[in-house]
């Protein structure tokens, strides 16, 4: 696909997403808003899995830390300032990732997967069993943060349409931010580490530092998603940090196509879509979902991101010699 077509398709997708609140169907607006939040979460994980080659199985921890941070930093019956709670909760997620990264990045491969999971379980129990979290019931965020700046209110997160557009804007911002980073010398180093870390070291790159920076960044971006999730649903529970959540986001990345941001966004949509559709058919929807994911991995190894290339090749089929 050339860059023009690809840009037009992306803008078309954005336009469709921008029209969703016009439908007035509050159920679908909330469902798509939730999906966009998960898409941001999946992109943040893709920075690790798809670009740096770090398969984290504990990414929900940073999602959850930010979600709990909003709930805890907001006064009980008043609105907190968005301009304070957003950076604070995202900063706490990044900080948590920095600290965890110092330990987990000393391991590789299967050990890395297990250790990231272990830290996420640790975080789960911190919020589940200590006064920090409010037990298995979680905490309510009674009043959504306000975007007020010196008396002026540019938008209201209480308004579902405003909240939706705020989330969509964050998705675009995270997408552009990651796209930009990947073109930078820093991003090239991350991709080099994924391809051949040993060679990067032999060329003078202290890869641990780069991986730690990526891990921290991914934690912070995952925190943006966690923040938005808490604002959309108005309450947080320890389930947000559970290993199911870490597994789901990993599946979105794999389903969408590791290392392809648009693919990963699509992965989040297909994943939540399947959850809804199969869930309406049967209460054993996870069984159906599992089958679909196994089939996708077997028959579509590059994920959804590989579909355009396949279509193109089959169209050229007979004529082309490849």
């Amino acid at each position: 696909m050339n860059t023009h077509t690809s840009l037009i398709l992306k803008l078309a997708g954005l336009a469709i997403l921008a029209c969703v609140p016009l439908s007035g169907e509050s159920f679908y607006v909330e469902l798509i808003a939730k999906t966009l939040v998960l898409a941001i979460f999946a992109m943040s994980l893709d920075l690790l899995v798809g670009f740096t080659g770090l398969v984290s199985f504990g990414h929900a921890a940073y999602f959850g830390v930010a979600a709990y941070a909003v709930a805890q930093l907001s006064p009980k019956y008043e609105a907190a300032s968005l301009w304070y709670v957003l950076p604070a909760s995202v900063g706490l997620s990044a900080l948590a990732a920095l600290v965890v990264g110092l330990f987990v990045l000393r391991t590789k491969g299967i050990y890395f997967i297990m250790v990231t999971l272990a830290f996420a379980q640790l975080a789960f129990f911190v919020f589940h069993d200590t006064p920090l979290g409010g037990g298995s019931d979680g905490i309510y965020l009674n009043v959504k943060p306000t975007a007020e700046i010196a008396g002026w209110i540019p938008f209201e997160l209480d308004n579902p349409a405003h909240l939706y557009y705020f989330i969509l804007a964050m998705l675009v911002a995270v997408y552009l931010f990651l796209g930009r980073i990947l073109q930078s010398p820093f991003g090239r180093v991350l991709v080099g580490i994924k391809s051949n870390e040993h060679r990067m070291q032999a060329m003078g790159y202290r890869t641990f530092r780069y991986k730690l920076a990526a891990f921290t960044l991914a934690g912070g971006l995952g925190g943006i998603a966690g923040f938005l999730y808490a604002v959309v649903f108005g309450f947080v529970t320890p389930e947000l940090l559970s290993w199911h959540q870490s597994g789901n986001v990993l599946l979105m990345v794999i389903l969408g196509g590791m290392g392809n941001l648009v693919g990963v966004i699509a992965g989040a949509f297909v994943f939540t879509g399947m959850q809804e559709v199969f869930g309406s058919w049967t209460k054993h929807w996870q069984l159906v979902m599992g089958g679909v994911i196994v089939a996708a991995v077997l028959f579509l190894p590059g994920g959804l991101a590989a579909i355009p290339g396949r279509i193109k090749r089959s169209l050229q089929g007979g004529a082309a010699n490849d």
Binding site: R180, I181, Q183, S184, P185, F186, G187, R188, V189, G192, S195, N196, H198, R199, M200, Q201, A202, M203, G204, Y205, R206, T207, R209, Y210, A213
Partner: protein, 258 residues
């Protein structure tokens, strides 16, 4: 560029030893690399040549002994740190980024000399100095016709040339080359020998190689290793004439082409 003194001793390994459990892979090996000279490590398979290179490059910590670079002790430095002071290496098994273009492989090597990870909003492909450097090194290694090729599809010999270009792009003063001619056809070998001769005056080169024609074409010093020990070290004429080397390694004329 600063004035280069030829015969300047750059890298010295002093009685380095490496043990793997009970196995002594290298024992009390001394190596000295001078600018403008090619030092060849010879020895049958399992003699410990790669272990020796791995210790010099920082891929493997020595169990004993000391390594100095320009008079400074570097024994405790990691591979990345040694690369940054000016020691570059190539690998016995081709070790590149197979999905990247030739240019990107070498550009990444060049970028390592001026790492600015905090500049996350600058574009790598707009860093002209790194691109220019990469192109110059690709040309020096004789790969300029393949700049935009995906490196994984290059011929074996071309991938070895790419490795040399990557070492060059890191401004390595000391080049540790582990069998750069392995698996090459005679044309490719001859071209690589030309490249080595061209690089030699400004750098110190350690070469592990089995191709005897190439070895005697470029070597200033040869060290012969057997079973982890240095058997003999000296100029090519001395090694050729040595009875011990003849007996232990070269044996008959045939084994000149292992």
């Amino acid at each position: 560029m600063t004035e280069l003194k030829t015969n300047e001793v750059l890298l010295v390994a002093n009685r380095i030893t490496r043990r793997f459990g009970g196995l002594v892979a290298n024992q009390d090996v001394n190596v000295s690399l001078e600018r403008g000279k090619v030092h060849v490590l010879l020895g049958p398979n399992g003699a410990g040549k790669s272990t020796c290179i791995n210790m010099l490059s920082g891929d493997l910590p020595p169990s004993d002994g000391q390594i100095t670079f320009m008079g400074k002790d570097i024994t405790g430095l990691s591979a990345a740190q040694r690369s940054l002071v000016g020691i570059g290496r190539s690998y016995q098994r081709t070790n590149i980024f197979p999905k990247f273009s030739v240019l990107e492989n070498v550009r990444l090597a060049a970028q390592s000399r001026r790492q600015q990870p905090w500049r996350i909003f600058s574009k790598a492909m707009e860093q002209k100095w790194a691109l220019d450097k990469a192109r110059a090194c690709i040309e020096e290694a004789g790969l300029d016709k393949k700049v935009d090729w995906i490196s994984g599809v290059l011929s074996h010999g071309e991938q070895r040339q790419l490795e040399i270009a990557m070492v060059l792009a890191t401004d390595a003063q000391v080049m540790l080359l582990d069998e750069p001619l392995a698996g090459m056809g005679s044309d490719e070998s001859a071209r690589m020998v030309e490249v080595l001769k061209r690089l030699k005056p400004t750098r110190a080169i350690l070469l592990v190689e089995h191709d005897m024609d190439a070895v005697f074409a470029v070597a200033d010093t040869i060290t012969v290793m057997v079973n982890g020990l240095v058997l003999e070290s000296g100029p090519p004429a001395q090694i050729k004439a040595s009875a011990a080397v003849q007996q232990a390694y070269l044996g008959s004329e045939d084994s000149f082409h292992v």
